[in-house]
C-alpha cells in the first residue's frame, strides 16, 4: 500500500470473470496524470468493466488496480470513499437520479462532499451547466431531457467536483457529430486546463483520435494493443488495426 506511483491509474495483471465467462484476462496498463487514454474494442470485451474496476464498483478476481497511489482492491469503504472523491464517472446512460432535478443532481455531491455555501454551489452549478450547454435547464427532471442532454448532464455531474481522474463510458454515443465534437472539446479542456486524467470508453474512432494520448484495444478480455494512435494503427493485431483505421 505504501508503494509510490506517479501515475493516475494502473492495472496490474487484472483478471475478472462473470460465471464461466472471462471478461478481463491478465490486463496490465498504466496512464499518467494529465493524460488521456481511450479504450476501444468490440461490444462485450470488458471496457465498461474496466471503468467499474477503477471506481471499485466491482472487485477483480485477481490483480491490482492502482488509483493515484492507492490500490483500491480490498480497500475498506471509508478509504474507498476518499479515493472516489478524486474520480468523476460519466455512465453510459448518464445514470441521473430520476427523482431529482438537474440542479439537485449536481448539488448533491457538492453539498455532501464539500463545504461550499449555497451561493458558491449555485455558482459552480451555473458554470458547469454553461460549459455543457445546459444553462437554464437546471429545474428540469431527467425525464424531460433528450438523450444528448442527459449525456451532457451526466458529464456535468461528473465534472462538478473537478476530479483528478475522469472516467467516461461512451460520452458521444447517441449524439450527433457536432455535439459529440463539443463533448470531446470539453474533455480536452479538462485535460489541458485542469490536468485531469481521462479514461474514455468509446466506439467513436474520430473522437479517440481527437482526445487520446494513448489507445488501448481490448479483444475477448485481452489487451491486444496499447500505445499512441499511430502505434496502434501499425499494430500486428488485426482487430486493433481495423478498429483504429476503418
Amino acid at each position: 500500500m505504501s508503494e509510490t506511483h506517479s501515475i493516475a491509474v494502473e492495472f496490474k495483471r487484472v483478471m475478472k470473470s462473470f460465471g464461466t465467462k472471462r471478461v478481463l484476462n491478465d490486463v496490465s496498463f498504466q496512464i499518467g496524470q494529465g493524460q488521456a487514454l481511450c479504450l476501444l474494442g468490440r461490444s462485450g470485451t470488458g471496457k465498461s468493466v474496466t471503468l467499474k474496476l477503477i471506481m471499485a464498483l466491482m472487485r477483480p478476481d485477481s490483480g491490482e488496480v492502482w488509483v493515484d497511489q492507492d490500490n483500491v482492491v480490498g480497500m475498506g469503504e471509508h478509504r474507498l470513499s476518499l479515493v472516489r472523491k478524486k474520480l468523476g464517472y460519466l455512465f453510459q446512460d448518464a445514470a441521473l437520479f430520476d427523482s431529482l432535478t438537474l440542479y439537485e443532481n449536481l448539488a448533491l455531491p457538492l453539498s455532501r462532499l464539500t463545504k461550499k455555501s449555497k451561493d458558491e454551489i449555485d455558482d459552480v452549478i451555473h458554470r458547469v451547466l454553461t460549459d455543457v450547454g445546459l444553462e437554464g435547464d437546471g429545474a428540469k427532471y431527467p425525464s424531460a431531457l433528450s438523450g444528448g442532454m442527459r449525456k451532457r448532464a451526466g458529464l456535468a455531474r461528473a465534472l462538478v467536483l473537478e476530479p483528478k481522474i475522469l472516467l467516461a463510458d461512451e460520452p458521444s454515443s447517441g449524439l450527433d457529430r457536432i455535439t459529440a465534437a463539443e463533448i470531446d472539446e470539453l474533455l480536452m479542456r479538462c485535460k489541458t486546463e485542469r490536468g485531469t486524467a481521462l479514461i474514455v470508453v468509446t466506439h467513436d474512432v474520430h473522437g479517440a483520435r481527437r482526445v487520446a494520448d494513448q489507445v488501448a484495444v481490448l479483444d475477448k478480455g485481452n489487451l491486444v494493443a496499447f500505445g499512441s494512435v499511430g502505434e496502434v494503427s501499425q499494430s500486428e493485431n488485426d482487430v486493433a488495426r481495423r478498429l483504429i483505421t476503418e
Partner: protein
C-alpha cells in the same frame, strides 16, 4: 435438498440485509432529508387508500355483524365488536397488507430500476453510501408511518361502522361511542398498533432487498415489485401470529 439449501441461503441473505438496516440506522450520518421525503411518499400518499379502505371495511363489517347479532338479540354489542375487532386485529393487519401492496411494490420497483439504470452505482461513485442513502430511510419511513396509518384506518373503520349503524338503527352518537369503547383497554389498543412497526420493518426490508440486490436489468424491475408484495404479505401474516402470541404473553388480560 437443493431447494432447501437455496431457501436457507435466501433467508440468510434477507436476515443479514435486515441486520445491516438495523446497524446502519443507528450509525451517523443520518439521512433526515431522505427520511422526510420517504415519509411523505409512504405516509401521505398512502393515507387516502388507508382511510377509504378502513371506512368501507367498517361499514361492511357492521352490516355483516348486525345480521349475525340480530339472531342472538345482541345488537347492542355491535359498536364494541366493531371497535375491538378493528383496533385489535383488522386495522393493523389490513393496513399492513395494503401498505405491502402499495409501498412494497413501489420500493421494490424503484430500487430495482435504480440498480438497472446504474443510479445506485452513480451514488456510490459520488462517495455516498447507497445503502444508508436509499434503503435505511425507506425502511424507517415504513416503520414510522405504518402505526400512524393503522390509527387512521382504525378510526376510519369506526366512523364507517358508526354511519352504517346510524343509518340502520338511528343510534345516538354518544351512545355508540360509549358502547364502542367500553370493552377497549389500553393494552388492546397500544400493543396491536405498535406491532405494525414490525410489519413496516418487514415491508421495508423485504421490498428493499428485492429492489437493491436485483441483477436482472429491466426484467428485474417487475420481478422485484411482484416478489416484494408476495413475500411481504406472507411474512406479515406469519409475523402477526407470532406477535399476537407475544402480546398475549406480555398482556395476559387481552388473551380472554
Amino acid at each position: 435438498m437443493r431447494w432447501l439449501s437455496k431457501l436457507f441461503e435466501f433467508v440468510g441473505k434477507v436476515g443479514l440485509f435486515s441486520l445491516r438496516v438495523l446497524v446502519d440506522s443507528l450509525r451517523p450520518p443520518f439521512e433526515f432529508a431522505q427520511l422526510s421525503r420517504q415519509l411523505a411518499e409512504v405516509g401521505n400518499r398512502s393515507l387516502t387508500l388507508i382511510v377509504v379502505s378502513g371506512f368501507a371495511l367498517g361499514a361492511v363489517m357492521t352490516l355483516h355483524t348486525r345480521s349475525t347479532l340480530v339472531m342472538f338479540g345482541a345488537t347492542a354489542m355491535i359498536p364494541a365488536v366493531q371497535s375491538v375487532g378493528f383496533f385489535v386485529e383488522i386495522g393493523p393487519l389490513v393496513a399492513g397488507l395494503l401498505l405491502a401492496g402499495r409501498v412494497g411494490s413501489g420500493i421494490g420497483a424503484v430500487l430495482a430500476n435504480m440498480r438497472a439504470s446504474e443510479q445506485i452505482d452513480a451514488i456510490e461513485s459520488l462517495s455516498i453510501d447507497s445503502f444508508k442513502f436509499l434503503v435505511v430511510p425507506r425502511v424507517l419511513a415504513c416503520v414510522i408511518a405504518l402505526p400512524l396509518l393503522t390509527l387512521s384506518m382504525d378510526f376510519a373503520g369506526l366512523l364507517g361502522g358508526f354511519l352504517s349503524e346510524v343509518l340502520t338503527s338511528h343510534i345516538a352518537p354518544a351512545l355508540y361511542l360509549n358502547r364502542a369503547f367500553v370493552y377497549l383497554q389500553w393494552s388492546n389498543f397500544i400493543a396491536p398498533t405498535l406491532k405494525t412497526a414490525v410489519f413496516g420493518f418487514i415491508i421495508g426490508c423485504v421490498s428493499s432487498y428485492f429492489g437493491y440486490t436485483t441483477d436482472k436489468g429491466a426484467q428485474g424491475v417487475g420481478q422485484a415489485a411482484t416478489n416484494s408484495v408476495v413475500l411481504s404479505s406472507l411474512l406479515i401474516i406469519v409475523a402477526d401470529v407470532l406477535l399476537i402470541k407475544c402480546i398475549f404473553f406480555l398482556f395476559p388480560d387481552t388473551a380472554i
